[in-house]
């Protein structure tokens, strides 16, 4: 085997297959290996296999190389097919893991989540504490120098100096360039509108979980989950109307030194709530600074005896049941005595009153008699149809259940007919009134913007004809009755006043009243129900010391409708015009004058 050394190319051992007969030629020096018989065949086979394998590998490599060169040169591939430039698919919503936004019906931002920087210090790494404190207190106005110093002198390795800085503050602190100060990114729920939509929105805790209002009710949707992305929420609220309502309520609350106020505006056709205000309110950006009293939603959670506004339901019920017509009436000369109770009139006329007069002068006696004629059972069934006897369903966690009397006999029917003995929330009252004026269909109120294309679930509760009559009667109250101060010229306001003494410890408190005014406009084709409630208003010189709803609640509604009418696109009409007068005509049919002339 010594011949198998590396020789020059010409002297390398090679197989001479061309001349198999020369195997015995010993003179050929080029042949270093002699193969014979089976050995030769085996070698040949191996060589063939090697060539085959080489060809296969070479083929593969050529393809790979070709593909590579092709790719490198053209830079294109099947990607164009995999990601066509224009596709029918909508862009995937960007999920950043943050709590979703809440917007009003026009897209105005009500709640959002912002990434904020929180400032902390490592006291050990701070070189000059005095300098840091003095510099920092100039940037952070609400943190005093002494407070920073006391925090820095603690033995801890980590102290929070200020949570949730504004971007400007963060920039300025960075610009100070002090070592030992660090930021940590945190998420903070931010409510740009401040206290404006407080009760409805609710607020979140430190972990950004909703704990009140729609933040709580829609917590799952807003925060999203592993399977579903967080989706934005569009409320039915209109901030402009919400602001007008809050503005008017605040103004009148201070004017009449009331302890609270509530108000709402509702679309009678869709049940959408455009404004929902409860005063006193709070700033959801810092809910801990406010008392529990200011976090109480008077509109949905509070239940009150609504007083004479309930006469709307009683009158509608009597007219709908046909127990009395518009031309009929009752004798309201003497108060009714029943089981130790005395039912009197606040504005006594001491004569026979027709149905429109009973409603317009807000006669308790007449309304009680009207309800007795219908009967307690039908009365209860009617109020139940209007959703006044069970907890309303609305997208809020704070919903109050009405307080029903323990039994419901003729006495209870009499008192409830004028709004005493049954406590309901202002929300329920508005929903009921909107059913009375919109043609008689009860639509569940909602705080979520409704798609007009999606059909509504409406439940017919009274006849359309009765609803038409009720519109005229409510208009009469504002035109000639107790609610004259609610007239917003041009908007055909109609409504009903209600003054109820507050119940405290099971007794009526003469000194404290809840006044309310529930209205709808424009009365020839009602579109919105407006409700204003005042808690414990006091009369002033302007109202001649009166504190009734006609003096304290009706003016709110009048001013509010004049403000929001143009925003809502309600065209003012000429109230004195012949067509409007004819449309709003209702025969009063008073016999009283004849009696008085004798």
């Amino acid at each position: 085997m010594s011949e198998l050394t590396w020789l020059s190319k010409s002297r390398r051992p090679r197989l001479n297959l061309k001349n198999p007969l020369n195997v015995h030629n010993f003179d050929d020096h080029n042949i270093a290996l002699r193969l014979e018989g089976s050995a030769k065949e085996t070698l040949e086979q191996g060589r063939n296999r090697l060539v085959m394998a080489g060809v296969v590998f070479a083929f593969c490599f050529v393809i790979l190389a070709g593909r590579l060169v092709g790719l490198a040169l053209s830079g294109e591939s099947d990607r164009a097919q995999a990601f066509p430039e224009k596709s029918d698919q909508r862009p995937v919503t960007y999920a950043d893991g943050m709590r979703a936004e809440i917007r009003d019906r026009n897209g105005v931002l009500l709640a959002t989540t912002l990434k904020t920087a929180s400032l902390f210090a490592e006291p050990k790494n701070v070189m000059d504490r005095q300098e840091l404190a003095s510099k920092l207190s100039r940037v952070l106005e609400d943190v005093s120098e002494a407070m920073i110093l006391s925090k820095l002198s603690s033995a801890k390795n980590f102290v929070w100096l200020k949570r949730n800085l504004t971007p400007t503050q963060q920039y300025r602190i960075n610009a100070l360039g002090i070592p030992g100060l660090h930021f940590r990114e945190e998420e903070k729920r931010f409510y740009p509108m401040g206290a404006l939509v407080s009760h409805l929105l609710g607020y979140t805790d430190l972990d950004n979980l909703g704990i009140a209002g729609v933040e709580k009710y829609f917590n799952g949707q807003l925060s999203g989950s592993k399977e579903t992305a967080a989706t934005d929420l569009n409320l039915s609220i209109d901030v402009r109307i919400q602001h007008a309502m809050r503005d008017e309520l605040t103004r009148h609350m201070s004017m009449f030194r009331a302890i609270g106020a509530a108000g709402m505006v509702m679309d009678v056709q869709s049940g959408e709530i455009l404004a929902m205000v409860s005063l006193p309110d709070f700033d959801p950006n810092r809910p801990n600074d406010f008392s529990g009293d200011s976090k109480f939603n008077k509109v949905s959670l509070g239940v009150y005896e609504m007083g004479s506004t309930f006469k709307t339901f009683t009158t509608a019920m009597a007219l709908d049941a046909g127990t009395i017509g518009l031309h009929g009436g009752y004798d309201a000369t003497k108060p009714i005595k029943k089981a130790g109770f005395l039912i009197r009139d606040d504005h006594p006329k001491k004569r026979w009153l027709s149905v429109p007069e009973i409603y317009m002068y807000s006669s308790n006696i007449g309304t009680a008699k009207m309800a007795i004629d219908v009967g307690p059972k039908k009365h209860k069934a009617f109020l139940s149809k209007l959703g006044l006897l069970e907890k309303p369903s609305i997208e809020l966690p704070e919903v109050g259940a009405p307080i029903l009397p323990p039994r419901w006999n003729s006495l209870e029917t009499m008192t409830i007919s004028y709004g005493h003995g049954l406590s309901v929330s202002p929300l329920q009252l508005s929903a009921g009134i909107s059913a009375v004026v919109n043609g008689g269909a009860y639509i569940n109120p909602t705080v979520i913007r409704r798609d007009p294309a999606v059909g509504l679930v409406a439940r017919q509760v009274i006849k359309t004809k009765t609803s038409n009559t009720m519109r005229k009667l409510m208009r009469l109250v504002v035109e000639q009755g107790t609610g004259k101060k609610a007239a917003a010229n041009g908007y055909l306001v109609g409504g009903k006043t209600g003054t109820a003494e507050k119940v405290e410890g099971g007794r009526y408190k003469r000194s404290a009243v809840v006044t309310s005014f529930v209205s709808a406009f424009p009365m020839n084709n009602p579109r919105y129900v407006v409700l204003a409630v005042m808690d414990e208003p006091k009369g002033n010189a302007k109202t001649h010391g009166f504190r009734g709803a006609g003096w304290t609640a009706a003016p709110i509604v009048g001013r509010l409708i004049a403000r929001i009418g143009p925003i809502l696109g309600v065209m003012p009409v000429e109230e004195e015009s012949e067509t409007i007068k004819r449309a709003m005509f209702v025969p009063i049919n008073s016999k009283g004058k004849k009696v008085a002339s004798f």
Binding site: L71, A72, D96, L114, K115, F190, L196, V239, H243
Partner: protein, 137 residues
Amino acid sequence: MKMNLTALSLLLVAAVSYGLYQLSYEVQSLEKNLAALSKSISDNRETIRILKAEWAYQNRPDVLQSLATKHLPLLLIAPYQVADLEQVPENVIALSELVAKNVPLPRKKPRRTYRSPKNKPLGSYTLATFSKAGGVQ
């Protein structure tokens, strides 16, 4: 022949590896680019969020109301102040008056039936536009 084949394959290997490295570097730089873009997109999203919140905050209805009462002579809108476009009277000005005073001519209310005036006045007849200096041309 064999020399050529070897040289060719070496050349091929060199070319292919050059291409491969080129591709690899390109991919790396693209990836870097992508990361930078993603970062800037998320930064911009964050900024947009803050600006939107800022916008909503600065446009609070009570702020707008106080600004309006301070700077505008606007009070509550009386019903007679509300009208639709059809009720607005059309301002008809004789062209001859305007030519004499060299006053820019207001255009008529845009409407479907509008036809441009047939007998246009000679001389200065220009539609009012704002000049760069700030005045009306």
